[in-house]
């Protein structure tokens, strides 16, 4: 409040957003020395040198101006080829692909492009922290459906159907999932596709972790028959290619939807960073082998870490993708915030309390295993000590 004018400068919508629960933990963890952090939602690899080198070369050659609003055509062509090769989906590079500033911006654009005031968007929790506020900022109403740990956090189409109303516009799904690591099975995706068709809904599919799928191939919901026309497929380079700081992602959608997103993008962003686009071009052309090596490395660490969590008494399903383990801490009698805070203060291991990702995350903690094997071993040792003391 400004005392003179009594005017509220910050919009009511923004003022109504609750502060990110991760922020408080970040401040606490940063104030301590010797912390092993399993709280990081990004790869522990530095971007591969060939990608960095390609981007440096583009700078040396003076590619420092804007690109086309939708991104370099060459890059969109590579993205189209990549989506066809890996996920068997077809998009036209000229009109159906948009290069964005991270998957984050693509999610924001998708919501702003489709939501009318009061439209409802279904979000399945526990979920990535950005969906709900972005729905609100787009003028929509988030409707929360809870996945249950008892079912390994699988999507429950029946629960989703119960949440559908006249105003439901879209469902946001994320597979492999942050924070649970759960991968939706082709059968579940088909069930969701039937719902979407029956109720004429769009699906916003956040597939940013698609490259980090450990059992079999990633299935994109856009590849389910009939779904291409009602899916906004979102992915990017941050996780699979270890390029978080580059801020580069993309969306693929039928022309009408994609052009609507592009309209916002050209006013609000102009284009994604040029040097990052040149790096991404190299990533798609020659990066496959390194992605595979990183995937193997995560898979082994997942196996070690999840087996060890179960061994020390933190029950955890084996996550099929991403780099998160989401064990239950319910039997300790602590809330997930109490557990995380005490673990941090007493043993200097930082994890993220599950309630940050929605009320159905209560009773769980998110541990990222994108840390060196030595650090994971030490973290397990400390967590074991902590549990024995409880």
């Amino acid at each position: 409040m400004n005392p003179q004018t009594k005017k509220m400068y910050v919009s009511e919508t923004v003022a109504s957003l609750k502060p990110s629960g991760i922020r408080r933990f970040f401040d606490l963890a940063s104030s301590l020395d010797g912390v092993i952090s399993l709280g990081v939602g990004e790869p522990d690899f530095v971007t591969s040198w060939s990608i960095r080198e390609a981007s440096i070369l583009s700078l040396e050659q003076g590619y420092t101006s804007y690109t086309a609003n939708a991104g370099l055509l060459e890059l969109r062509q590579e993205i189209a080829a990549y989506l066809r090769r890996k996920f068997h989906v077809e998009y036209r590079p000229e009109t159906e692909i948009l290069v964005t500033v991270g998957a984050s911006q693509a999610i924001d654009l998708a919501l702003r492009a489709i939501v009318n005031p009061g439209d409802e968007v279904i979000v399945v929790e526990p979920s990535f922290v950005a969906y709900e506020p972005l729905v609100v900022l787009a003028g929509g109403t988030p409707v929360i459906v809870h996945a249950s740990g008892a079912d390994g956090f699988q999507l429950m189409p029946a629960h989703i159907e119960r949440a559908i109303t006249e105003r439901t516009k879209a469902v946001i799904i994320c597979s492999p999932n942050n924070p649970t690591g759960t991968v939706l099975s082709p059968a579940e995706l088909k069930a969701l596709a039937r719902l979407a068709e029956k109720h004429d809904l769009l699906v916003i599919a956040d597939e940013i972790y698609a490259e980090l799928t450990y059992e079999g191939e990633h299935t994109s919901i856009a590849a389910v028959p009939g779904m291409r026309e009602r899916t906004i497929l979102i992915s990017g380079f941050s996780k699979g290619f270890a390029m978080t700081g580059w801020r580069l992602g993309f969306a693929a959608a039928p022309e009408e939807l994609l052009q609507a997103m592009l309209k916002i993008h050209q006013y609000a962003m102009m284009c994604a960073p040029t040097m990052a686009q040149y790096g991404a071009l190299e990533a798609l052309r020659n990066g496959e082998h390194e992605v595979e090596q990183m995937r193997n490395s995560y898979r082994r660490r997942r196996n070690y870490f999840v087996a060890s969590l179960n061994e020390i008494g933190l029950p955890c399903h084996l996550p099929g993708g991403a780099f998160y383990a989401f064990p239950s801490i319910r039997h300790t009698g602590l809330t997930s915030e109490q557990f995380a805070e005490r673990l941090l203060l007493e043993e200097k291991v930082a994890v993220v309390p599950g309630n940050v990702f929605g009320t159905s995350g209560e009773g769980y903690i998110r541990c990222s295993y994108a840390s060196s094997l030595e650090q994971l071993q030490e973290a397990i040792k400390r967590m074991k000590r902590f549990l024995e003391r409880l």
Partner: protein, 166 residues
Amino acid sequence: MKLSDKELEIIEILEKDARTPIDVLAKMIDLPVEETEALVHKLEEANVIVQYTTLVDWRKVDGHEGVTAMIDVKVTPKRGVGFDEVAERIYRFPEVKSVYLMSGAYDLSVVIEGRSMAEVAQFVSEKLSTLDSVISTTTHFILKKYKHDGTIFDKGDQDRRIVVAP
């Protein structure tokens, strides 16, 4: 020898870090400890895993003297045994660290370690050049090792990530 996927994984993991504890290794490849131990043993017996060694940065050791040279050796192969016989004569010397048969301008690449340049020079002139089949040698001394067998000596890539992130 055809290896299973699990055996290949064991090799990949141990090649990066031979000191990975067996229980950790077992969990990483999702097998019981005894079975993992048996597989490692089998790979050792078959000489697929030949040796576990330590990569040392000798520059960090005060008072250490030592030079490494890579020598390009041209030889005349012998009927029936090709290059193998002369290669064996060379690799049996303890100061020879490695010997490779090469395609291209010369035949054998020989890596030698000695306490001083003089010592290496003496070895080349007295032992290597005097072998019957050796036609010529070209000696290159290594001035600095930046990276060896996939490992960068000066680790610049420390963890720069923020502590907690969504």
